[in-house]
C-alpha cells in the first residue's frame, strides 16, 4: 500500500453516496526560463489534488456531485468525500448518466508517485551555458523555456476500479534573435524525460535558421504556395481535433455538421491525401492515458460517468475520410455510434516517404513557415481561424531558402487546408507552438498548400 492509496481506501469506505469515484493527481514539476542570454526564473513545485465524484442514483436518474481540492493528508480526502456527497444531494439529474465502467484493477496501482526535479535539466543547463556564451560573442540573443512534469494519476471507484497511470510532460523551446530582434528563429521539442534532448544540437539548428534571416525580403499580403512545417500542422490539427464534438456536429454547431440537422460529415472525404488522424495510448509512440480521466463532464466531449473506462486508439480520419467524432458513452448510445475519447496526443500521417527537406528542394517559389501564433476561431461553421506567422517565414526559390520574409496574418480553416493540401512529408514528432501549454505530444507531417491565404502583413518580428 502507498500513503495515497491507503487514503483512497479510507475515503471510499467513508463515502455514503450510492457510488463514488476518486481521482488523485500527484504532480512534481520543474522549469527553467531564460531571456537575453540569461536565466530569468526557475522553479520546482509539488502539488497533489483530488477530485471526488459522488453519485446518487434514484430510479433511472443519476445525480452527481463533484468537488476538487488539494490533498496533503487523509483528512483532506475525507472532507472532499463528504462535500461531494452533499453536492450530489443538491444536484439535478445528469444528462450523461451511465452505469460506471466494468472495474479494472491495474497491477501497478499500489505504486508510489513518479517524481521529477530540477536536476533533470543538468545536461541541458550546461549546453545552455555554452550557447549563452556563444550567442553573446556573436551578438545574438537567446530566449526560451524548458519544463518537465511528472503526473501520477490514481483513479478508484466504489465499484472496484483501481487504476494508475503516469503521464509525463516535457517541452523545450529555444528562440534565437539578431540584436535588432528582426531576425528570429525557433526550434522546439517535446520529450518524456529530457534524456533525448540535445541542447547543443538544438542550438546548432536554431543558429542555422537564424543565418537564413541575414537576407531580408519584404513581400505583400496575398496567396502563396506555402510549406507548413510539422509544428504548424500540429497547431491547426489540434484545433480541428478539439472541435470534433459529435453532439455539436449533430446539432449543427461545428464544422463537422451534416447538411441535415441530426447528421454529421462522418464518411465524407475531407482530403485528397491519404491522411490518417489517430489518437490514443501509444499512438505514434506517444504517451496518452490508457483510461478516461474526467474530473468534470463537458457536453458531448467527456463524462464523469466514464471515469476509468479503457481508452483505445481511435482513427478520426483514415484515407482522407472522416471516420469518427468524439462521444462519451452516453452520447454514443444515444447516437448509435462508438464511444470515442480524445486523449492528449495526436498523430497525423499521410504515409509519405518524402522529407520536408525534399519538399523544400522541390519548390520553385514558395514560403516555408516555422510556427503559427495567436490562433483564434473567426467562423464556427467553417472553422475559419485567424493567426500570425512567427519566428521564421522563409522564401524558397528553386529549392533553396533565400532569406527571411516579414510576418503575415492568415485567415484559413484547417478543414479547408486538408482539402487543398497537395503534398505531405513523413510525419515526425514535434512541438506545436500555440497550444503547447495544453498539448505537447504530436506526430505530424509538413503540408504543401498551393494558395495559403496571407490576409495582411504583420510588422511584428
Amino acid at each position: 500500500m502507498t500513503e495515497v492509496t491507503t487514503w483512497i481506501d479510507q475515503a471510499l469506505a467513508a463515502a455514503s453516496s450510492d457510488e463514488c469515484i476518486i481521482i488523485v493527481n500527484d504532480t512534481t514539476e520543474a522549469n527553467l526560463r531564460w531571456a537575453v542570454n540569461s536565466l530569468t526564473t526557475n522553479g520546482q513545485m509539488h502539488h497533489r489534488t483530488a477530485t471526488v465524484i459522488a453519485i446518487r442514483r434514484e430510479a433511472d436518474a443519476a445525480h452527481a456531485g463533484m468537488v476538487s481540492g488539494p490533498v496533503a493528508a487523509a483528512s483532506d480526502l475525507l472532507a472532499l468525500v463528504e462535500q461531494a456527497g452533499a453536492a450530489a444531494q443538491d444536484a439535478p439529474a445528469s444528462d450523461d448518466a451511465s452505469p460506471l465502467p466494468d472495474p479494472i484493477v491495474d497491477p501497478d496501482y499500489e505504486t508510489d508517485a513518479d517524481a521529477t526535479s530540477i536536476e533533470v535539466f543538468g545536461p541541458l543547463a550546461q549546453a545552455l551555458g555554452r550557447a549563452f556564451a556563444d550567442a553573446r560573442e556573436k551578438g545574438h540573443e537567446l530566449f526560451g523555456f524548458a519544463e518537465h512534469h511528472s503526473t501520477t494519476v490514481w483513479l478508484a471507484t466504489s465499484t472496484g476500479a483501481r487504476r494508475r497511470t503516469v503521464q509525463p510532460m516535457g517541452r523545450i523551446e529555444l528562440n534565437a534573435k539578431h540584436a535588432d530582434r528582426i531576425g528570429s528563429a525557433w526550434v522546439g521539442a517535446a520529450t518524456v524525460d529530457f534524456v533525448d534532448v540535445d541542447g547543443d544540437a538544438l542550438y546548432a539548428e536554431v543558429s542555422e535558421r537564424l543565418r537564413w534571416c541575414e537576407t531580408r525580403i519584404e513581400l505583400p499580403a496575398g496567396r502563396y504556395e506555402t510549406i507548413l512545417p510539422p509544428s504548424a500542422v500540429a497547431d491547426l490539427m489540434i484545433y480541428a481535433y478539439w472541435t470534433m464534438n459529435g453532439r455539436d456536429a449533430e446539432e449543427g454547431r461545428n464544422v463537422y455538421a451534416g447538411k441535415e440537422r441530426g447528421t454529421t460529415r462522418v464518411g465524407e472525404t475531407l482530403s485528397s491525401l491519404p491522411l490518417r488522424v489517430t489518437s490514443g495510448p501509444g499512438a505514434g509512440g506517444l504517451p496518452g492515458s490508457p483510461f478516461v480521466v474526467a474530473p468534470a463532464s463537458e457536453a458531448g466531449m467527456q463524462s464523469v460517468f466514464d471515469n476509468g473506462a479503457p481508452v483505445a486508439q481511435v482513427d478520426w480520419m483514415s484515407d482522407g475520410v472522416l471516420r469518427q467524432l468524439v462521444y462519451p458513452r452516453s452520447g454514443a448510445r444515444a447516437s448509435g455510434t462508438d464511444f470515442a475519447y480524445p486523449t492528449q496526443n495526436l498523430v497525423v500521417d499521410a504515409e509519405s516517404a518524402t522529407s520536408m527537406a525534399d519538399m523544400v528542394a522541390g519548390t520553385k517559389r514558395g514560403l516555408l513557415l516555422t510556427t503559427l501564433w495567436y490562433i483564434r476561431e473567426v467562423d464556427t461553421e467553417s472553422l475559419l481561424v485567424t493567426g500570425l506567422t512567427r519566428d521564421g517565414v522563409y522564401l524558397v526559390e528553386d529549392g533553396q531558402v533565400v532569406g527571411m520574409v516579414n510576418n503575415f496574418r492568415f485567415n484559413e480553416s484547417p478543414i479547408d487546408l486538408l482539402k487543398r493540401a497537395t503534398e505531405a512529408s513523413t510525419a515526425v514528432p514535434n512541438l506545436c507552438r500555440e497550444w503547447n501549454d495544453w498539448f505537447t505530444y504530436t506526430v505530424t507531417p509538413a503540408l504543401r498548400i498551393p494558395d495559403f491565404n496571407m490576409s495582411t502583413v504583420s510588422k511584428a518580428y
Binding site: A35, G43, A72, E141, A296, L384
Partner: protein
Amino acid sequence: MVDSDRLDPRFTALPLDSLADAALARASALGASHADVRIERIRNGIRVLRDGRLETTTDGTDLGIGVRVIHEGAWGFAAGITLTTDAAAALADQAVAAAKVSRVLSDRPVVLAPEPVHVGDWVSSFRTNPFEVSESDRLGRLTELSDVVAKGDGVDHVTVMVEMVDESKFYADLAGSRTRQRRVRIHPSVEAVNVARGYSSMRSCNPPVARGWEYVADNDGWDFDAEVAQIPGWLAENVAAPSVTAGPTDLVIAPTNLWLTIHESVAHATELDRALGYEAAYAGTSFATIDKLGSLKYGTDIMNVTGDRVTDHGLASVGWDDECVAAQTFDIVRDGTLVGYQLNRQMAHEQGLGRSNGCAYADSPGHIPLQRMPNVSLHPAADDTSVDDLIGRVENGLFIEGDKSWSIDMQRYNFQFTGQRFWSIKDGAITGQVRDAAYQATTTEFWGSMEAVGGRGTYKLMGALNCGKGQPGQSAPVSHGAPAALFRGINVLNTEAEGGN
C-alpha cells in the same frame, strides 16, 4: 466596514504567521537578502447549462505556499502544499538551492526597488459570496435566464454559464510587510444559437466583475433581465442580415467591444517585461520599446489611458500587489503620447524608474509573481457626448457591440477583431445589422484614427478573467474601462470572403 471581518475565516484560521516566520527565518539564516512567502487559498466554481440542463459542474480549491528568495543576487522559488512549519522551512531551503542553480546562468544581480513596509487587510466589494448561495438558488436563476432566451423565436440552443472565484492571499516578507487580502469575482454569460442558416450566435455583453452573486441575482451592476430579453431578437436579425461590404470603414465602437482592443493593443503593449524582451519567446515583445517612453505618439490627442489597481469592482484591484507594493493609479498614455509602463520592483529598479507601480501578480501559490496588467482604462470625454452623438457624425459606417474573436501579433501591431453585433450606420443613424464582419488594423494607426470619445454616460467597466501570460502559463483577471469612441477609415474584412477560395 473593517476589512478584517470580511476575510475568509477558513483562511485566517490557518497558521499563516507561524508558517511565514518559519520560512523567513530559514531563508534569512541561509543568507537570503530578500524572501517572501505567499499562502493562498483559491476556490473556483463553474456551472454550465446547455438547453436548460446542467452539463458541467466544477468546484475546486487550490491551497498552498510559495517561497521566493533572492540569494547572492539570484532568484529562487519553491512551492508546496504541506502547511507545516517544517515544510515551510524546507521550501526556503529548496528556493535557496534553486537560486544557486540559477546564479551560474544569470548575468546581473537582482535588486528590488524600495517600498515602505505595509501591514494590513483588504477585501474587494461584494455582498453575497457566490459559494454561499444554495445550489438550487444558483441553478434556479441560471435556468430562469436560459428559459427567457429559449422561448424566443428562432433560438435553437441556449448555453448559460457562470464562473465564480473566491481568492484569499497572505503575504509576508523579510522586510516586515504582512498582508491578508480577499477578492471575490464572478462571470455569468448567456449565449443563444441559431442553426437555420449555418451557424449564428448571440452572447450577452456583460463583463466579469469583482462582485458577488448580487451581480447575477439582483441585476446589481448589469441589467441581465433586460439584456437576455433582447437576445432572441438580436439573433434573429443577425441570421437574416446581409453580409458586410469589405473596405475602409468609419467605426463607432461600444465599450463592450473596445475594451478588448484596449486590452490587446494598449495594455499588453505597455507591459515593461514585454518591452524589455523577457516575454520574447512566448507572449511576445512590444513595438512600444522603452527608448520611446515620453515620445511615442500612440494615438490622437484625445487618447488618455491610465493603469490602476484601485477601481471599485475592478478585477485587478487589490490593496497591495504580490510584492506588497501599495495599489496605485498611473498614466500610461497622456494626450496621445506614451508616458508610462506597468512595473514590478525588479524592473522599476533596473530601469531607474523609481518606485514600482504595483503590477506584480501570481495566479496561484505554486507560481512566481510576474508583471501583470492592472486595470487599464481609456478615459471618457469631459463633455456628455453620447453614443447617438458619435453615430450621428458617421455618414456610412458600422456600430460594433460585444467582443467575440480576437487575435494580435507578438509585437502588438497587427490585430483582427470580430464582435457580437455589427450595426450598419447610414447618414448618422443605425439601419440594421450586417454579418461576417471583422476589423483589422495596426495599433498606432487605429488609435491615430480616433476622432472622438464618448462622455462618462457611455463609459463601462469591462474585462476578462483569463488573460494568459508567462511560462509556466498563468491566468489573470483584469478590468478595462472604456467609453464609446469613433474611429475613421478602419479596414473591415468580410470573413466569409476570407475563408473562400
